[in-house]
Symmetry: C2
DNA sequence: TTTAGATTTAAACAACTGTTTAATTTCAAG
DNA sequence: CTTGAAATTAAACAGTTGTTTAAATCTAAA
């Protein structure tokens, strides 16, 4: 059929699920919570999504995609290396400004149920990212544009300086009840700071 | 009475609670889970700890203390500034090597229930840490030992470079099923890298 | 208007949740 | 040995959980 009604109900369930799962986690969210807030009968959730777990996986996958898709593209790009770094961090800050709750959500769900999400994580082939970056770094070292540096350290620095401030910020926002303009202004400065940090660390 | 038996049972409940709460979170852990694994009657948990929530708060407070007590002491110390930074990061790496699951646990529980833990967080007076660090930095700038730098940026850099690698590491450990020696060896290198990073960023 | 299929509903299901009860056992002090 | 408080137990409590059922409603095509 695919009428407006179907997608309406389905989308309402998806929207509320997104909000509640990200906020309260898998075990902290009940199907009845979702149904009530979406103004939908409880049975509709199973009707459209089969099970709580299937619905959750949909949201989880979506969240992971938001977090890594853009970055994957940038890492594999042929931008000049320093531009690449700049774009990389820029892209993180951009995405995380709009989705500051996603990192803690994804990290925590993996933490609480590593077994079940292991297969899912491997499907994304995280070592591929590692390899691509390694190749690129080797070329840059050959060209003499950067000094020798272990991939792991560079990767950890970039991820840490880009993601963790938003993990703290997302919590700060929840605790204070509103987006702290101060803090997010400071983060805007911190972005330049982080890029400078990383750039200085790899300059030959 | 305070016989060996009482503390035995009590401690067994505490030990299992610590493990399960940190691993599965508040909502993911049931009193019956705890009782079963501690080989204790369900009622004993409420008998000794009044409620699931009281028990959880005990574990949560304990975890927060592990995460910040030592650091507070170091930040307030009168060590030479560069030594202070070194000791600070060193202390983080030391503590997090033994408790790699704590950061994600604490951050996530705050994330999922900010309202209830707000009072608890304010009790630790996080802005105090901020003030102490600000004063110290001002003095160092006057002395000309470091260049002018916003506290927030310095603080975020230290926290990010120290904590986030272990958040990733804790998950990596869970996913691979054992402590990845490789990764933790890389982290040992990363510690020096981080200190160098930070030192370079504030050198006049 | 009839009809077949999709959608929606209220109700029930068994299992699990945190907590309390009342009865029983344990055990050191008298 | 008796006693009284502390410790432990099995059972029950009311409420919630994810999921399923069977009946009712809606809707577009014949």
């Amino acid at each position: 059929m695919k009428t407006t009604k179907e997608t309406e109900v389905k989308d309402r369930i998806l929207d509320v699920s997104r909000k509640l799962f990200v906020e309260k986690g898998y075990t902290g969210t009940s199907i009845r919570d979702i149904a009530t807030e979406a103004e939908v009968n409880v049975a509709m959730v199973n009707y459209y999504f089969k099970s709580k777990h299937d619905l959750f996986e949909m949201i989880f996958e979506e969240s992971v995609n938001i977090l890594i898709n853009k970055i994957f593209g940038i890492i594999r790009s042929d931008l000049p290396f320093y531009d690449l770094l700049n774009t990389w961090v820029d892209s993180y800050y951009d995405m995380l400004s709009k989705n500051s709750q996603l990192p803690i959500f994804v990290l925590n769900e993996i933490h609480q149920n590593p077994g079940h999400l292991l297969e899912f994580i491997n499907r994304r082939n995280p070592s591929m990212l590692f390899g691509v970056l390694q190749n690129r770094i080797n070329k840059e070292i050959e060209k003499g544009t950067i000094k020798e540096i272990p991939v792991m350290n560079l990767l950890l620095s970039i991820l840490s300086l880009s993601i963790f401030p938003f993990v703290l910020g997302g919590i700060l926002t929840l605790v204070t009840g509103e987006k702290s303009e101060e803090y997010y202004a400071a983060l805007e400065k911190h972005k330049k700071f982080a890029v400078q940090f990383i750039t200085d660390a790899i300059k030959p």
